[in-house]
Structures are given as C-alpha cells and as structure tokens.
Amino acid sequence: MTTAAATAGERTAKAKPATMAQALGRALRDSMAQDPTVHVLGEDVGTLGGVFRITDGLAKEFGDNRCTDTPLAEAGILGAAVGMAMYGLRPVVEMQFDAFAYPAFEQLISHVAKMRNRTAGAMPLPITVRVPYGGGIGGVEHHSDSSEAYYMATPGLHVVTPATVEDAYGLLRASIASDDPVVFLEPKRLYWSKADWSPEAPVSVEPIGRAVVRRPGRNATLITYGPSLPVCMEAAEAAVEEGWDLEVVDLRSLVPFDDETVAASVRRTGRAVVVHESSGFGGPGGEIAARVTERCFHYLEAPVLRVAGFDIPYPPPMQERHHLPGVDRVLDAVARLQWEAES
C-alpha cells in the first residue's frame, strides 16, 4: 500500500474530469504494471474490456495471459484464482454482475475466505473479487442486487466499497496489494460519476478499514457507503434549510469496520441514521446500528434509525426508484430523530 502511494505520488499532472470507471481501470493497469504477479480474469474482460469497460486495454497492454477471458463459469473463475494464488499469483477476478457472483459463493466462503485460517497462516490468498453491485441503472432482473450483507457475514474476507473517484483508485490499489482476499464492491451507478482527478497526481492509498467524514456537522450523523453517499450528501445540503447540520460518514470499508470514526462522530452529534440501499432486514444497517448503540448509548438522544431498501427482491427497473432510499426518505428519518425530546 505504501509502495502504491509512493509510485502514484511521484507523478504530477493536472487534474481533469475522470469517471469512477476510468479510475478503476487505471488502478488495475497501475497494479499490473507494478507487479507482474497481478492477473485479471473473468468473463469478457479481454477483448471487450468487460461489460462496463473497466478492464479496457489491459489485454492489449499486458497480453491475454495477464488479462484473461475465461469460460463462463463463476465457480470455475474463482476456484482457478484460488489455485493461481496458491502458486504465488495475485488474481483480480471480475464478476460480471452482483447476482451472477452467486455460483461462486461456495468457492468464496469455503476456500477464499478460509484458506489462511485452514492452513494456520501458511497459505494466504491475495485475491481481489470485483463485484459491480447495486441498482439505479435501470437493469433488468438479477442486475441490481446489493449483496454486501452476505460477504460481511463471512469471516476472512475484507469488504470494501468506494463512493468517490479517488477512493475507487486508492481502495482498488490497496485491495490488490492486500495479502488477504478482498470483495471489492463497485457501485455501478457511480461508474460514470466524475471528479477532477488525475491518476498522475498524488493519490492517497490508505490501508483498508478507515472510514472518513465527508461532511462535518453537529446535529446528527448519516452513516453510509457506496451508492448511497451522494444521496446522503445531497440530503445533508437540503437539511440545512430545515435547520439541521448533518455530518456524513462514508464507511468505505464494511469489513474491517471502523468503529472509532463512526462512534466518535455519533458521540459528537448524539444522533445517527444508517443509510444503504440493500434490504434492511438482516442487512448491514442492523449490524451498524447495534455497534453504534453499544458504543454510544449514553450519548444518544434518539434510537439509531435505518433507511434501507425494502425487504423485497430487487424490483423491476420501472419501480426501482420506489425501492432505493432517496433524499426525502433520509430527511424523513432525520425528522424522526426525536428532536422535540431535546428541548
């Protein structure tokens, strides 16, 4: 991770608008250029550059032994990656869509997550599994799942998800450099979000596991990640009119979980709302709310609330806007934070 930061830091160039997709592609390219053991594999990642074009140009630059179109079989892809990692390579696997990663669950849970543990540390598996996840792009069935809760429930995996262009680059570099397996969740509706960013400019590649305060505030904390960060930022701006000064915490990493940053924020504000688009029941928000309550009970002015997707299979695209938590639903929750009890 430090090496990645150093390499990136050496270059300088003017920042231009870049998309998250470009930043991810650049992170793959830079990782492959720096470390010959980094191999990209998946469905359509070669000639096509992936259905989201994240791997565009990699096969051309590094050859199809480094960026490989595999047969169409997710368990086979991840299972082969396990063997490759056993032999000293650093595979980066692309799962085409969130819901198509499920055939590989057996490999992920029984082997990827456990190999270090099963071998008492003798055989760590430095595999990065990239999963485009979440809705909001008008995808038909099986193209919009938020599967983070399944991954979070599996000890041995890191689970990270960027919400900004810069984090997309930094977190992916850190994930590939990690000696542990990382499930790297890419919020696909943010793929085309832009920021003034230059891969040539110094980029901070932080260790996995640190949350960040995206917007300081005094009255309540919005705890969120990935695709819901822009929603929360917008809600926080809108809340100013209502007289609420909201803090927004971007988790970036779900496992490991940054209790410190989250608890420090909630202790300052006394109120918290967890926002994510995956279903609420059995979802990440329950875990986060429980952790916040355990650490901040005496600071809390109100119960920790959750704003999540409904407990339904992901709806058809023409209905998804009703399912996805938007600004209004976040503000509604903020309004329910028992403000009157304060006076």
Partner: protein, 387 residues
C-alpha cells in the same frame, strides 16, 4: 405456419448453413470400454519389478494405516476417519507418479495419498482428529489441504497448474475426487477450464461404487465417468483401480502428457470401498455382503502379491518384511496419537486476517479474560483439593 404455407413458398430455398466442423475429433479421446489392466495380462512384462515391489510395500503400509486410523476412532483419538481400504492402489499410485515439484489436491478420503507422498502420518490426521484444519504447510509438501466440500479442490488444481505453466515451471497438478463428486458443478467447471487452458492437470476419479449410500447408477447415466472427458475435449481413461501397476501406468502417462504440454486427462479408476463411508456409517443399509465378497476376491494387495510371488520376485520373507514395516509404522502412529495435542485458544484469532482487525482484538481480549477466570477457578479448586 410451415414453410409451405408462406406466400411464394414454392420458390423458397433455404440457404445452407455455414459449414460445421467439430473442434476436436472425439475418437482418440474416448476411453476403452473395459478398464485397463496390467496384472495378470501380457502388459505386466513391461512393468518395472522394482516399481512393483515398491508399490507392494506401500500398499501393505497403506492398508495398515487405514486399519490403525479406524481403530483410533474407536478410542476417541480421531473424530472421524473415512477409510480408503480397498482403494490403496489408487492412493499410492497417485502419490508415486508425482515428482517432488508437482502438486497433489486430495479429498478428505485421501490421507493415504498424502502420507505416501511423504507427509507425516500424524500431520495428515489433524483435520480428522479435530485439532487443526490443516496440520501441515501445503507449500512445503505441495499437498493442498484435504478438501471436505466435494470437488471444490478441482478448480484450484487447474488454477495452480495454469499459474505454474505461466511461470514456466513444468509442474503438474493431480486432483482426486470421488464418483459422487463428479456430479458437482465444480467438477464440470474445472474440467472445462483445464481443457480450454490446456492446463497440466490430471483428474483422478476414484469410482468406489458409492457416494455415502448412493450407488453410481443414481449418480450418472453416462457409460462411464471417464466418458465425461470427451465432452470437454480431453482424453478419458478407464483403469482397474485395484491394479496398482495399471493405475500407476495410466496416471504416469497422463502426468507425462500434461508435463509435455499435452493438456489434461480424466482418469476413472474403478475400485471399491471395502469399509463403510466412515467409521460412523452403516454400510449394511445400502449394500449386500455378496457384492463386498466379490470385490474382496479382487483385492489390490492380493493381486500384486500373487503377481510378485508367481514371478519369484517376492517370497515369504519379503511379505513378512513388508508387514513388519507396516506394523512399526502403526505402532509409532498409535503412540504419537495417544498424546493429547497442545492447543492455544488464542490461535483462533491468529489466522483470520494478515493483520488483526480491531473487532478480533476485542474478542481475543474477551476470551483471554474468560480463560484467566477459568484458570483462577481451577487454581482455587486445586488449593481446596490440596487442603
């Protein structure tokens, strides 16, 4: 609506489809209709006597190992043991065809292959004793962890072999799976990957007749499991799994083919599981004694012993020597397994991540407090007892 009913159908002539040709000629890939045999056939003349004697000694040792490990379950020293009695020829041949740099990917039943490859007999049993998941360093021995989820180790073997080839190493991976495991998706994905990538892998299916209680006929409708290879574009070989010389030869050819860049092979060894699925299983519920007896007459050790004694390569002394060596191994195993393993509960947290998470540090501290309290409690008890 048929073509004839279409307006102007009389003039309609379908354009012929583009020429079709198969990617691979299936004929050379097809397995023989009968399992290949060496012992008791003319082919045995080509077998190296020294190899046969080595196989014999290993088979005798292997059978004794199975018996000893099963006995250890009765004494509560092993949680469970899936015996490979009857299948020793497959186990031993798998281990002996590999070079040191090659990799073995065993299933939970293949302790014997791991031991024959040189793994410490106690280290090979830790999974089944229940003290560690894998009691050895896979890289050191080039033996993947004994794999419990069926067929999931097969894609690993493919990935490893592929990686080795990318690095320019002439390493072969041999992966073992049972007949039941061939129905799993991972089996099919692994074979397909291996064939497409021309990975230097050998798949060894030990068809021992049953997946726990389910017979082969309820597992597959294929003519043989070796036939499955053809659909993926790799050769399938059918071999008598109780004929150690035949299994060694067929696996040896497959390994040589893989090493020289010829790609993967699927070998089906037809054998029989003489014991129950594990010590906890009751095989009388699903198979008849006459079937077991028929296979007893085709015992892998007897087959080889007859061949070797018939040719004057092995006498009573040699048989006695092999048995005595096996006895010594069993005695040493018994003795070492009678010692309680020393375990550190803190190990529970040691190997989850490269760097411990704050959450795990907290949980480790909590367990430490519990253990200290336990210790104090015991300390007090001791003092009271001492009084």
């Amino acid at each position: 609506m048929t073509v004839q009913e279409l307006p102007g159908a009389a003039a309609y002539r379908p354009t012929p489809p583009p020429a079709w040709k198969p990617l691979t000629d299936p004929a050379p890939l097809l397995p023989d209709p009968e399992p290949y045999r060496v012992l008791g056939t003319d082919a045995v003349a080509d077998a190296d006597p020294e190899l046969l004697l080595r196989l014999y000694a290993e088979l005798v040792r292997g059978r004794r190992y199975n018996a000893q490990a099963t006995a250890l379950t009765k004494q509560g020293r092993l949680a469970v043991y899936p015996s490979s009695t009857g299948q020793e020829a497959c186990e031993i041949a798998a281990a002996l065809v590999l070079e040191e740099r090659d990799w073995l990917f065993p299933s939970y039943r293949d302790t014997l292959a791991a031991v024959a490859r040189g793994l410490d007999p106690v280290e090979a049993l830790t999974l089944l004793r229940g003290d560690r998941h894998t009691g050895y360093d896979p890289r050191e021995h080039r033996i993947a962890p004994l794999c419990t989820p069926l067929a999931t180790q097969l894609p690993h073997a493919v990935g490893l072999a592929h990686a080795a080839r990318l690095k320019g190493d002439d390493v072969v991976a041999l992966a073992m799976v049972g007949d039941g495991g061939t129905s799993e998706g991972d089996f099919h994905e692994a074979l397909n990957f291996a064939a497409v990538w021309r990975a230097p892998v050998v798949f060894l299916v030990q068809n021992n007749g049953f997946a726990i209680s389910v017979p082969l006929a309820k597992q597959t409708a294929a003519p043989s499991l070796a036939h499955k290879a053809v659909g993926y574009g790799m050769p399938g070989r059918l071999v008598d799994g109780n004929d150690a010389a035949a299994v060694h030869q067929v696996l040896g050819e497959a390994v040589a083919r893989a090493r020289s860049g010829g790609g993967p092979t699927l070998v089906e060894a037809v054998t029989y599981r003489m014991d129950a699925h594990t010590n906890a299983d009751d095989a009388t519920r699903y198979r008849v004694e006459s079937e077991v007896e028929a296979w007893r007459a085709h015992d892998p050790i007897q087959l080889l012993e007859r061949e070797l004694t018939g040719r004057g390569l092995l006498g009573d002394d040699g048989i006695e020597e092999a048995r005595a060596a096996a006895e010594r191994m069993a005695a040493a195993l018994r003795e070492r397994m009678n010692a309680d393993p020393v375990l550190d509960p803190m190990d529970l947290f040691a190997h989850v991540y490269a760097e411990q998470t704050a959450q795990l540090r907290e949980q480790e501290a909590r367990l430490r407090v519990e253990l200290d309290a336990e210790q104090d409690q015991h300390g007090c008890d001791d003092v009271e007892e001492g009084r």
